[in-house]
């Protein structure tokens, strides 16, 4: 198992390099360079421009070097935690991202827990009582959940929130905790706010997960090994969890890695509507204003986190199914 994890981590390195190249290409994609953008900015502010000074700046930042040189320099900076500077915000990109990433991760994790906590028991129920009234009801609710756009759900919740509290923005903290230092009460306050975006972001995924869980389990329940386990005198409950459930979890577990990127989709609307300080609105802003260091870095970081997510998936899978341990 340990050698599996090691091999798997080694395999991540080339993938990470590919990701970094793509991120760099994104950063370099707009015509002109950082300096052209800077010049534009100065022009807009109607300030005087000294072409000589611009050229010397270019030299200083190494912008005249060939792109592969600039790539390695950029990569070196990243490894030292320097992601470049956001023109739009006039702040280091690293600072912007670290300020928001934890909230995105918190929402991801919360919606993940929400989705799985709901989907696994419901999937289990539906599969073991296929075609029962309960199964039909959950299927119906599931389809409604699948069909409801996230933003609509967010708006509905926002409206409800407004009616209930009179506040417009939901945010992640109550006012008194907004800038307070961390404390137990602040964590509780965060959790009280977190469930809303978690529900908004997680609902569509939950419905999908229920379908997957139910279908997998129905498949597995038909397998000969289930009849064998039954023939040994195992009770239905023990049998279900020990044998088919564990296998049925495989495809569910393999989706863990993909939760993060799909969450960015879901999170974006939820964050915009609910007014949350997360990565997604930052990313969209960066794309709109061609703030490429910021955009490229967000891509880089989300992709890396996705890779970490798939690593985690694979470890869970390998734990669930010993056949996978030897496969990589």
């Amino acid at each position: 198992m340990l050698s599996f994890i090691l091999r798997r981590i080694l395999l991540m390195i080339p993938t990470l390099l590919v990701v970094s190249v793509i991120s760099f290409i994104i950063i370099e994609a707009p015509p002109g360079d950082f300096m052209d953008a800077y010049v534009d900015q100065l022009l807009q502010q109607q300030e005087a421009i000294d072409p000589a000074e611009i050229d010397s700046l270019r030299l200083r930042y190494g912008l005249d070097a060939p792109s592969y040189v600039r790539y390695f320099r950029w990569l070196g900076n990243i490894l030292q935690g320097d992601l470049g500077r956001s023109l739009e915000w006039n702040q280091p990109v690293a600072k912007l991202i670290t300020a928001r990433l934890p909230w995105s991760l918190a929402i991801s994790v919360a919606s993940f827990i929400f989705a799985y906590a709901l989907a696994i028991p419901i999937g289990l129920y539906s599969a073991t009582r296929q075609y029962s009234i309960g199964d039909y009801i959950f299927t119906l609710i599931g389809f409604i959940g699948l069909a409801t756009p996230n933003f609509l759900l967010a708006l509905l919740i926002l409206w409800y929130y407004f009616v209930a509290t009179g506040n417009v923005a939901v945010g992640l903290f109550s006012e008194e905790y907004l800038v307070a230092p961390w404390s137990f009460a602040r964590v509780i306050d965060l959790l009280k706010h977190l469930w809303l975006p978690a529900v908004v972001v997680g609902t569509a995924g939950t419905a999908g997960l229920i379908r997957v869980m139910r279908a997998n389990l129905l498949d597995e329940l038909e397998r000969p090994y289930v009849m064998v386990a039954r023939s040994k005198g195992l009770s239905e409950g023990k049998l279900l969890f020990k044998y088919p459930f564990r296998i049925a979890m495989n495809p569910v577990a393999s989706t863990i890695g993909w939760t993060l990127p799909t969450l960015v989709n879901g999170e974006l609307l939820a964050s915009l509507v609910l007014g949350l300080p997360t990565i997604a609105p930052l990313f969209v802003g960066a794309l709109l204003s061609q703030d490429m260091f910021l955009a490229g870095s967000v891509v880089m970081i989300l992709s890396s986190l996705t890779l970490v997510g798939t690593l985690f998936s694979d470890i869970v899978l390998a734990w669930l199914d010993p056949r996978i341990r030897g496969a990589i």
Binding site: P224, Y225, V228, S231, K232, L234, K242, R323
Partner: protein, 333 residues
């Protein structure tokens, strides 16, 4: 036949499957007895209801199927239990499964879960039926693996089923079934999934174990050679019906039912007078959803009597000691 006590008595068992296509009468009126220590062979072409008969005894018929009539009496220590009357999820039947009656399944590949070691799956059944610690259960599992001829049992016990060869997997399966010393072992096509050399070894093993452990055995097969090797009695099935049953030597020497005659002719070396010519039964088994009227075999029977065989279901006739047949060619004397 010695007078060993009766162990299991199946009487007029019928198990049907219900689906959109209609009702499938997988087992339709089957009766047989097994005495302690006896070996019964159930033979017939694929799809005639052999496996479903076994599943009915253990009450593990898939949930779209149901035992519609019949009694399955298990007699132990002078007490008789009708397994058909038990709750199929209840405590009582669960103690019988794996404990009193164990089963070896057709496909050792699919019969083990691939995500647990065979040791895990064997100790599970031991701890379910015997009071013992995990360590003791492991000891017993290793002993059992040793007994079925598993090479290096202390090592293989921790192997995952996918890492074993087909023959070893079948041995592990037999070890698992025997680990609680059942009074009756049902082996459903124990040798179909393994290659020929292993087949002989597995048969030899089953014979030895049955003799040593004094248990009764039901061997399900479509291969009559397996039956001649192992069994005291034989029941021949066709389309869910027990068309003929008799002591093994009687069946091979003097088969009565035209289907049995056909089956024997289609087996090299076993047929009457050791005829070299392989002579498979003409035609194919009718769809189980459209059972022929009258005798189920009449669409293929060379002895077919018009207006009798296709109209009336032949009753079961007793021809001699323990020799019963369902065919209009014979009459009760």
């Amino acid at each position: 036949m010695t007078q060993a006590p009766l162990l299991l008595s199946v009487d007029n068992l019928a198990t049907h499957f219900f689906s959109q296509e209609g009702i499938l009468e997988a087992v339709d009126g089957v009766s047989f007895d097994i005495h302690a220590g006896e070996a019964l062979g159930i033979a017939g072409e694929s799809g005639c209801g052999k496996s479903v008969t076994a599943q009915s005894i253990l009450r593990i018929v898939p949930k779209n199927g149901k035992i519609v009539t019949g009694e399955i009496s298990l007699i132990q220590n002078g007490e008789t239990v009708d397994l058909v009357q038990l709750d199929d999820r209840g405590q009582e039947i669960r103690q019988i499964r794996g404990g009193e009656i164990a089963m070896v399944f057709q496909e050792p590949m699919a019969a083990f879960s691939m995500v647990y070691t065979i040791g895990n799956q064997i100790t599970e059944v031991i701890r379910l039926h015997q009071e013992c610690s995990q360590d003791e259960a492991r000891e017993r599992a290793i002993e059992m693996l040793q007994r079925v001829g598993m090479p290096q049992p202390e090592v293989t016990i921790d192997a995952y089923p996918f890492a074993l060869s087909g023959g070893m997997r079948q041995r592990a399966m037999i070890a698992m079934a025997l680990s609680c010393h059942p009074a009756l072992l049902i082996a459903d096509e124990p040798t179909t999934a393994v290659d020929v050399t292993i087949q002989a070894q597995v048969l030899e093993l089953m014979k030895d174990l049955q003799r040593d452990m004094g248990m009764a055995l039901i061997v399900i097969t479509h291969d009559l050679a397996v039956i001649s090797e192992l069994c005291d009695r034989v029941m021949i099935m066709y389309l869910g019906k027990d068309v003929e049953s008799a002591p093994a030597d009687v069946i091979f020497r003097d088969p009565k039912h035209p289907y049995t005659v056909g089956l024997l002719r289609s087996v090299p070396e076993l047929g009457e007078g050791h005829s070299q010519e392989l002579d498979p039964i003409s035609g194919s088994v009718p769809s189980p959803y459209r059972r022929p009227t009258g005798c189920p075999f009449h669409t293929r029977c060379p002895e077919f009597i018009p207006d009798v065989c296709d109209v009336h279901m032949p009753p079961q006739i007793e021809l001699g000691a323990g020799h019963r047949v369902r065919c209009h060619l014979y009459v009760q004397d």
